[in-house]
Amino acid sequence: MGTLRFAHPTYWITPIAMLIHDQSRPGRRATAQAPLHSLAATDIPEGLRRRVPPKLPEVSEMQAVRHYTRLSQKNFSIDTHFYPLGSCTMKYNPRACHSLASLPGFLTRHPLAPDSHGQGVLACLHELQEMLKEITGMHAVSLAPSAGAQGEFAGVAMIRAYHQARGDHARTEILVPDAAHGTNPASAAMCGFKVREIPTGADGDVDLAALNAAVGPQTAGIMLTNPSTVGVFDRNIQAIARTVHAAGGLLYYDGANLNAILGKVRPGDMGFDVIHMNLHKTFSTPHGGGGPGAGPVGVSQRLEPYLPVPLVAFDGDDYRWLAEDERPDSIGRLTAFGGNMGILLRAYVYARMLGREGMGRVADFATLNANYLMARLKSAGFEAAYPERRASHEFIVTLKRESKELGVNAMDFAKRLLDYGYHAPTTYFPLLVPECLLIEPTETETKEELDGFIEALIAIRREAVEDPEKLKGAPYTLPVRRLDDVRAARLLDLAWKPGSNEVQDGQQ
């Protein structure tokens, strides 16, 4: 049975939410870390100068090191906890990817250094570009987008550019399934499109009749995730592609769930015209507490001219960047210097370590782990949202029965899981399944870890029967108990100001 692990062995020695600013004392400094001599910038006109120094903390180097080390210990992370956050692919981030991307020649290279002083990094990026083409079955790839959402923006912008270049100005609508990630409709809106929702059928696949009714001469394209966010592979994908293409629209593939199909099936073969990949998911670059990501885009032949810049070109001897001047039809540049190169290097190292045989194993074991978890949870009496379907790399459990009968909801289960030493699955997404947990174990977890997680969920349900109030008060063993989100939004406290602690806490 599940045991209540003490999730945080060190939190109690950390003073309550003490900011680095609270440790500041006038005149204290980390002197070794700045130039030793202070110079006066006397030629800067008086009127342009800063009159009062910024209120930054004044601490010693050791104080800073201790403070941030302690803060790190208040986090759950892949390195410390099972982290089955659905749709986020929280798999192990190999340490070699970090250390090899951090070699001095890569780290110190200026983005505007000439290509002659970048043949090493450009070779890696070009090979990554080529591997991503092969893996996704697309005609061409740009590594420029900095994250999945930026890849989505770039993808939809290319769809827009394509229709505009053909003089087809009537296509003002993007179709998005109701299960889609929130970034999909938001990206479509940023590109100036209207968003039309398509319902998901009872079996988890897109409702084909609704799709047929929705497509028309106003359809610019459809944004799909496959396997979808409900954790199943849409069996009608070829019919969807035919329908949308026949109406003159294009298909956009949200690569959030690419981990499920790596080396098994390719978006290009499914009929997609444009895709983005989340390298921080499928290619195991760090999530970093919320970024940096990397969201390369791949396209079919007809969208190739519109790819965001820069691209890496190779003429057989030398690698070089292609920018706006050589790519006149490009949708342009998404960041000043063309992307998260250090993250792309990590993905490259990971891809080379996996190799061709490793790619398929990723999908194999991500899928095995998800189906094993689903099978065991079903037999333990939990309700799968789509029990007749295979899980892809993730699946949904709905707690609507527990919510109705016991009065405890998905949030309560999630918070109690933290006490058991497991990060919670994604909750309340996708929106169409009530009281849902979207569970994605990834391929890097052991059977023992999955078994422990199952036991914890069973134990929590037992607690829900015996003492539902206990769940509502969870978590108990973390640095803080459940936080007041309403207060956070109403009494906005978004930055420390001198004296702000007295007002806020009433403790000092």
Binding site: A17, A34, L39, A41, I44, L48, R50, P53, P54, K55, L56, V59, K74, N75, F76, S77, I78, Y83, M90, H98, S102, P104, R109, L112, G120, E134, G137, A147, A149, P185, A186, C191, G192, V195, R235, D269, P286, G289, G291, P292, G332, R333, L334, F337, R352, G355, R356, T367, L368, N371, A391, H423, K447, R481, L483, D484, A488, L492, A495, D505
Partner: protein
């Protein structure tokens, strides 16, 4: 099997629990026609020692030339502690703090980052970062147009003295939303944007906002008070684009003019982020309190828990895509959390005085380098106004040729302004950060002097031998 822990016994037991014979059976809902065989052109997997050998060779191939390029990314010292702490697994391998109670470390870092950025910019609130400086500016432009209720205009004035890559990025991101970017020229002798030029670019039309960058792309300090007051008199918002290091010396956007800039953004790379060929960096975005609900991206707030104990959570999520979907302030999902962690540690270690020393040393080094280079016949400053830590020079030969010759001798001499600003002729933008030594600067000047002399004598481009 790399990174897959399953033993044969595990696999057998798991398949039995699921009730299938083989892993491949789990893919039986995929139409068979779509299944692929081997990914033939992907190379076979490599052991860590083999990929290490390959990467070391490639990193060596890139060399470590002496860098005098700035132009939006700067070679600063990064305290050893910054990345040793930021790369701890608890920061490195955590995700967006959706479960606040299990993410207090990341959330408090975001709150402290926001506190530091508001202190530096002199504005009320900050978000928890965007992708980079240029994309942060694009978001600032969208935000300003949404936030300015005094006009329906979607026009935004963009100085030509703004980084060319920023101008291109902004155009690419905002144009689909019907925003009209109007370019305002600069004074050709001072290298400054003036009120007269802004007036000339917009005429009598209403406009929503003006971008003011301090320093501007040429390194020149703008008269930010005059530009801010002029914009506010025209009921437009002011978007400041600033270098966070420069803010140790220069008047913060919150103090500009009578009322202060409304929004400030920029590139956080100088705060502890390696150059790394262009990323990952982080953009910052701050604003006055009244615009907080128009601010895009993650924001951390301080609140209380069930026991009344202070803690941190993501807040104002009703602005964001995962709640508002198509009506969100932006499609942005992740921020640049790991880079923000580095920036926060970096600022905590440097403090205001350390930051000022860095800024003042960069300023002094660039002036020293400019003086050395200007001893070479035909090299002279292009503008006569004070600068922060970059200087624009006129050269006696085509900039690209001289830079190529310098690069052959392992010196990256600066940024060639000629393609983006043909009106400036043979122009070069130089930068010497606190990391550049006297010897490196003299070495640069000596090499350039010889290259120029050889060209002048030969009257044709010949590579000098030394």
């Amino acid at each position: 099997m790399p990174f897959v822990p399953h033993t044969a016994d595990d696999i057998a037991a798991m398949l039995a629990t699921i009730g299938v014979d083989a892993i491949d059976d789990l893919f039986d809902e995929i139409p068979p026609a779509l299944r692929i065989g081997e990914l033939a052109s992907i190379p076979a997997g490599m052991a860590e020692m083999d990929i290490a050998r390959l990467m070391q060779a490639r990193a060596r191939a890139d060399g470590q030339p002496v860098c005098f390029i700035g132009a939006g990314a700067y070679d600063h010292h990064i305290p050893a502690a910054v990345w040793q702490i930021a790369a701890r697994g608890e920061f490195y391998s955590a995700y967006t703090p959706y479960q606040a109670e299990a993410s207090q470390g990341t959330l408090q870092v975001l709150y402290e980052f926001q506190s530091m950025m508001t202190a530096l910019t002199g504005l009320d609130v900050s978000n928890a970062s965007l992708y980079d400086g240029a994309s942060a500016l694009a978001e600032a432009v969208l935000m300003a147009v949404r936030a300015n209720r005094k006009t329906k205009s979607t026009k935004v004035l963009v100085p030509r003295a703004l980084h060319p890559a920023y101008r291109r990025t902004v155009r690419g991101i905002v144009e689909a939303q019907g925003i009209e970017l109007v370019e305002a020229s600069f004074d050709p002798t001072r290298g400054q944007t003036t009120v007269e030029q802004l007036e000339a670019s917009v005429g009598g039309d209403e406009f929503a906002a003006v971008i003011v960058n301090q320093p501007n792309f040429f390194g020149v300090l703008e008269d930010v008070d005059a530009l801010t007051n002029w914009a506010h008199a025209r009921h437009a918002l002011v978007i400041a684009v600033v270098n966070p290091i420069a803010l140790a010396l220069l008047s913060p956007p919150g103090d500009w003019g009578g009322a202060g800039a409304d929004i400030a953004c920029g590139e956080a790379q100088p705060l502890g982020m390696p150059l790394s060929s262009g990323g990952p960096y982080a953009g910052f975005l701050c604003c006055k309190q009244e615009f907080v609900r128009q601010l895009p991206g993650r924001i951390a707030g301080r609140t209380l828990d069930l026991d009344g104990k202070p803690g941190f959570a993501l807040t104002l999520q009703a602005r964001e895509q995962h709640i508002r979907r198509g009506k969100a302030t932006s499609n942005i999902c992740t921020n640049q959390g790991l880079l923000v962690t580095a920036a926060t540690i970096h600022l905590a270690i440097l403090g205001a005085e350390g930051l000022e020393r860095v800024a003042a040393t960069c300023h002094a080094n660039t002036r020293k380098l400019a003086d050395l280079l200007c001893e070479i016949p035909g090299v002279e400053p292009l503008f006569d106004r004070p600068v922060f830590h970059e200087q624009t020079l006129r050269l006696p030969a085509p900039t690209a040729d001289l830079l190529r010759s310098l690069a052959a001798h392992n010196v990256l001499g600066g940024f060639d302004l000629s393609p983006d600003y043909p009106e400036l002729g043979q122009a070069l933008l130089i930068c010497a950060t606190e990391l550049r030594t006297e010897e490196e600067m003299r070495g640069y000047a000596d090499k350039l002097a010889r290259i120029v002399a050889t060209r002048t004598q030969a009257k044709c481009p010949v590579e000098p031998k030394f």
